[in-house]
Each structure stands twice: as structure tokens, then as C-alpha cells.
Symmetry: C2
Subunit: 408 residues, 2 copies
């Protein structure tokens, strides 16, 4: 008899048949005596359809009105799921974000949750009802409808789980858990039974797109046990927890993330004067370009090379900014390279194991893969390599760190 | 500088182009210095699409959840219109029924308005904003979403106009006003400049489907000047007012309504005993069948014939009920006739003019049309005739009472 918050994404509620499948899954948990709160996204494609409609009216849709528009998507799915549950004889009631009073700030399109009225939901659970809540949406102090931004339904689920002190927050998606790396690249990739929030954050921000980063941060902060599962199959998925496994055989590395979506910019021949880094990255920040990895090498001739990576979509814009910077500080040239890939080893085990980096570099060297940039954090080592070696590098590291599935 | 409430129906907001047209019309009123509150329906077809989705989940959709579902339709159109106005540089803000706090009872699917928070709207009008409100929907004391029932957007508009003490409530529709009768049947039918609420009620309930009856009742009760106009053309439409025209040439008859949707049931040879009418109509009411006209003729042989009309859809059901009644009270037989039509003359001028009924009967007699039933009220005379004579009767009455357009 637990209290479980379940979140189903757009593909899980894409049509009436799938919504009925969600109902059946919810009902199995009810039959086991659990209290269930369900958080739903809009039908897949619906939010994009609504945004396209908005753009027909106004190329830059006003954010307040856009939120009024797109929140209809989840309002449709919550009503349909409640209807399906009621038809099957399970008591159920749907709520929009405003009704449950998921109170947010007034940053339309990217609002942040400030409070949730858990008592109202508890009251209905106490009456034996399944409570179905619209994800992704809330309401501000003025009563205006807000949204939490793309993928915000995960955040809604975690916030509800935290407010209700739920025993588990289950995120149903189209993958059956978190893998050691992308199984499409490394067929030997294994599903992880558990992973820590920290590791999950590093994996997510490195491009393993299973969960929205914000929801993982949120779950970590409030210590909400988070489980990623498939809404189409069975299985236990992956549990994301605060504690590191107490398994003595805890692997050093939990997973390998990679990312092809970045490009590299190098400013050559930067005069080695104090404040050079700020003079370079200040204008980049002013242009609202997010920077990921940064490396500066000191050269022999009193000049340095300054290198950083940005998202591919931003590289042209960043390059134009840098050309200006180069002139003003007297740097030699700007070089851009989009044909790079980033590979990251992630694992809390690194904390207690020395030599992970050198082992990584050796594996790559054995494959004759040149490393262009290196960046490390407490539980992560990232390298930038030539894009064409990406698959080779990930496979070699996966095997080298003992992540491959045992042969059957 | 007036305060005007404008309501646009589903065909007027059926797609982005039409919504832009609505925006242009609103903007013309703003340019003239008027304050404008706009009430919108869902895009035509949308409510039916949502109901079909609901029925896929649950053949008898639970009313509370159905209201959560269908109210998304207007939430989409209000956001889109606000976006169009903002794009054109006109300040605008949209509100759902719950946000404006159109407080209703909790009769989901057919809720009645109890109060409206006019201050919130006035505040935005005072800031020079067009206020765009979702029609058809409200919220109950518990915060649950409700709907006013089909056509409820007219009611929303009138209720807002009453709460705001608006100078005029304009109902934009696909006809350009109220006509003396259906122009498809009588090409000589004229558009009326004005009509009284009472007349409009009789015309509406008799089958002239321009406005929802409830909204007309509401407008009459709160003396809201109501104007019916075309959302596609120009023109002044028809103004519906409390006062009878002070025109000395006020016609006796304002319009002719007709209705082919009724069927007639006769119970022959009913013993002429007290309570017979109740014994007949009680079971009909218990079966939730609405009765329109009722006539009882006393025969010579101590039995009577009892005749009434019901909607065509109900005639089989009513006949089955009557067969039981006939047995229990010892009536001779039940006769049903669906091939009838009802024709009604409507006009406040009847009050001060005697002889309208006899003039009507003479016109019909001159055309050799037999009258099967007669029913009268203060401002209306209805007759039931054989369906095949309907067009002939309406044309003859239209000419006979001087309603034809003057020849050009």
C-alpha cells in the first residue's frame, strides 16, 4: 500500500487505445491497493499542432496567450483518462494545473513551481479516487495560466511526488530504463537497475534524453525516488536514488554519454593578458549563446589559444561574435569545427577510484583516437574527439570499463 | 464611446483566416473608441470532435469530465484571437470561464450562471484592453469546470453584457438578422429592424433557430439590448428590445414561425372521467417526453379524443407509452401522425388587434388547407396542418398579413 505518482508522456496517450492501456496499468496498481496520482502530457503532436496554429496568428506568439492555448493539450488527455477509468469502475477525477493549484511564478512558457495544494489531492485519494493531473502547467498568483516549458510534465510529476511525499515517482516513457549507453550505438549496452541522481544529471545533460534535467534536479533535491519505465512493456525500469548502491561490486563507471550536437570554436593567438577570457566569453554570453566546455592552452610565444564548444545551431552566430572580438583584442584568427563529438564517462565510483582518466585515455589511444579537448568533474570525464571516431570510441570504452552485457 | 459585448459563433472562428476577420471587426469598434468584450465559441466541429473522442473512451461520458474536455475548444479560440489582436497592435487578454469567474451551479453540461466577476473585466477594459472570454463555460463553487449546454456562448455573452451593464450585446452569426419568416421558404421574407424579446422568444421556440432561447430570456430579464448580425457581411442586423416599437404603423404580426419536427398522437375514445388528462400525460412526462400542443375534444358518446404533439424523435416512444395507457384507462385506440407541420403567427400587435385568429383561419381556408389543431397565447397563434401544405400556408399568411417586401 504505497502512494505512487505515475507520469505518462505524449506517445503513451497518443490515441484512445493507448489511453485505455494507461488506464489498465493504473488499474493494476489500484488492484494492488496502491494510491495512484497520474500526470499526463498532451497527445504526441498536439502541442506542436497548437504552436503551429499560434504562429499562424502571430509569428512571435505572446507568451501569456500561448500558455492559454497549449495547456488545452493536457486538459484533453486528463479528461479522457478519467473517463476510461470511470468506465472500468475505478473512481477517478481530473484536474488542470490551475485546479490543483500548482502555483508558479509568472514566467509564461518557462514558469517555476512555487507551491502545490497537496491537501486537495490527498482528500480525493482518501476517497479511493485516482487523481489525474495535467502535466506541464500551473497558475500564477494573478490566476493566469502558465507552463513549465517543454518536458515540464516530468517536473509536475516529481513536484507532486515531493508535495505528497509519495513513495515513488514513476516516469513512463518509450524506453524501458536508463542504459549504460545508447543501445543503438552499442548493442551490448545494459539497462541499469539503479543510478544516482548525480549520475543521471550528468548523463542527461550529456545527451541521454530519457528525463528532463530539471525533474531530476528536483527529485534529487526533495529525495523523491524516481523510476523510469516503459509504458509499452513490463519490467522494473531504472530506479534513480540518492544513495549510491551499497554493492561492493559497484562499477566505477555507470554509463557513457555522447553528443554530436556541439561545435568547437578556437580563437588563435590571443594576447596572454589578464581578463582575456572575459573579453571573449562576455560578448558570447551577451548574445545569449550557451557555452559548454572551455579550454585554454598557454603557448610559447606569449599568446594563447582559447577553445570552447557551443550547440551546433549557435556556431555561426558565435563565430560572427568572435570575429569582432578577435579584432578588438588583437587575436590572430577564429577557427570553427562542427565535425566533433563529445564522449563522457559518468560514475560516482570515480570518487574512490584513481586512474579512471588515464585508463580512458589509454583505451582511446589504443584505438588511435586523438583527444582534442578534456574536461573533468567529480563524477565525469568528457573528451572531444573527431566526430567520425564517435562509435568506435564509445564501443571501446564500454567494453574497456566492463559495461558490456555478459554473453548469454 | 460605448461598451459592447460581441459574441462570435463556431463558424466565425472556424480557422485562422476567419479569426483574423473577427479581429479586424473588433479593431474597427476599438478604432471608434468603444470598449469591447468578445465572447467566442469553439471552432465549428471542434466540440463534436471532442465529444466523439469522449464516446470512444466511455459511451456515456461522465458529465464532469466531459466538461473538462469540451471547454478546451473555446480556450483555443480565445488565445488565438488575443494573439491576432496583439499582432495588430491592439492590447488584448483572454480569459477562460473559470478565470473570469463565471460562477455557475454544479449541473455539469447544463449549468446555470449565478454570478460574474465584472470588476476584473472592467479593470482590463480600463487599461484599454480587448477582453476575450471563452463562451459556454464557467466554474462552480468547488472550482470544477462547468458548461452551460449547447449554444451556451450566447448566454455567456448576454450574462456578461448584463453584469457589465453593456450598451449592446451583439450576436454575430451566419444570418444577417431575424426575418419575418424563413427566406428559403418565402423569398419575399423581410429582415426585421427590431423585434421584442417576447416575440423573439416565441419565434425561437417555434423553430426560428437564430438565437438560443435561454439567452433571449436572460437578455429580456436584464433588459440587455441584443442585436443579431452577420459575421460575414455588413448591415445592422436585428435589434431585440424590451419596448414595443412606438411606430403607429407597428404591424400586427412580426413574423411567422414553422416547424416540421413534431408529430401528433391521438388517443381515441377516452372515457370522459376526471383526471383522464393526468392519467395520459403523467406517464408521458415520466418517460421524459416533452409535450408541445395539447387539444381535447369532447365527443357525443361520453368519450373524448385527446391529442398532443411531441418531437418526431420521441413519437415511437410516446406511442408505446400511450398503448399501455389506452389499455389501463379503457381508451379505444392510439393514432400517430408524423406528417404534420406547425405554423405560428407571432406579434405583440395581436394584443391590441382583435380578429387576428379569424383572419388567419380565413386565409388558410381560402387555400383549402384544413386545420387539425389550434393553440393560442397572448402574442401567438399556432395551427397544426398537413405537412404537405406547409409552404403554401406560410406564403399565403406572409402575404395576407402584409409581411412581403415591397416590390422594388
Amino acid at each position: 500500500m504505497a502512494l505512487i505518482v505515475q507520469k505518462y508522456g505524449g506517445t503513451s496517450v497518443a490515441n484512445p487505445d493507448r489511453i485505455r492501456n494507461v488506464a489498465k496499468r493504473v488499474e493494476r496498481f489500484r488492484d494492488q491497493g496502491h494510491d495512484v496520482v497520474v500526470v499526463l502530457s498532451a497527445m504526441s503532436g498536439e502541442t506542436n499542432r497548437l504552436i503551429a496554429l499560434a504562429k499562424e496568428m502571430n509569428e512571435v506568439p505572446p507568451p501569456r496567450e500561448l500558455d492559454v492555448l497549449v495547456t488545452t493539450g493536457e486538459q484533453v488527455t486528463i479528461a479522457l483518462l478519467a473517463m476510461a477509468l470511470l468506465k472500468d469502475g475505478y473512481d477517478a477525477i481530473s484536474f488542470t494545473g490551475a485546479q490543483v493549484r500548482i502555483l508558479t511564478d509568472d514566467a509564461f512558457g518557462k514558469a517555476r513551481i512555487q507551491a502545490i495544494d497537496a491537501d486537495r489531492i490527498r482528500g480525493h485519494l482518501g476517497k479511493g479516487r485516482v487523481v489525474v493531473v495535467a502535466g506541464f502547467q500551473g497558475v500564477d498568483e494573478a490566476g493566469d495560466i502558465t507552463t513549465l516549458g517543454r518536458g515540464g510534465s516530468d517536473t509536475t510529476a516529481v513536484a507532486l511526488a515531493a508535495a505528497l511525499k509519495a513513495d515513488e515517482c514513476q516516469i513512463y516513457t518509450d524506453v524501458d530504463g536508463v542504459y549504460t549507453t545508447d543501445p543503438r550505438v552499442v548493442p551490448a549496452a545494459r539497462r541499469l537497475e539503479t543510478i544516482t541522481f548525480e549520475e543521471m544529471l550528468e548523463l542527461a545533460s550529456q545527451g541521454s534524453k530519457v528525463l528532463q534535467i530539471r525533474s531530476v534536479e528536483f527529485a534529487g533535491k526533495y529525495n523523491v525516488p524516481l523510476r523510469v519505465l516503459s509504458s509499452f512493456g513490463e519490467g522494473n525500469g531504472t530506479l534513480i536514488t540518492l544513495e549510491e548502491g551499497n554493492n561492493m561490486e559497484q562499477p566505477i563507471i555507470s554509463g557513457i554519454a555522447f553528443n554530436r550536437d556541439e561545435g568547437k570554436l578556437t580563437l588563435r593567438g590571443v594576447p596572454d593578458i589578464p581578463g582575456a577570457a572575459y573579453k571573449i566569453l562576455g560578448p558570447i554570453g551577451d548574445a545569449n549563446i550557451e557555452v559548454d566546455m572551455i579550454v585554454q592552452n598557454i603557448g610559447l610565444d606569449k599568446t594563447t589559444d582559447f577553445t570552447f564548444t557551443v550547440h551546433c545551431n549557435e556556431i555561426k552566430k558565435a563565430q560572427a561574435v568572435l570575429e569582432q572580438v578577435a579584432k578588438s583584442i588583437g587575436a590572430r584568427e577564429v577557427v570553427a569545427n562542427e565535425r566533433i563529438a563529445k564522449v563522457s564517462l559518468v560514475g560516482v565510483g570515480m570518487r574512490s577510484h584513481a586512474g579512471v582518466a588515464s585508463r580512458m585515455f589509454k583505451i582511446l589511444a589504443d584505438e588511435s583516437i586523438n583527444i582534442q579537448m578534456i574536461s573533468t568533474s567529480e563524477i565525469k570525464i568528457s573528451v572531444v574527439i573527431d566526430e567520425k571516431y564517435l562509435e568506435l570510441a564509445v564501443k571501446a570504452l564500454h567494453t574497456g570499463f566492463g559495461l558490456d552485457k555478459p554473453a548469454e
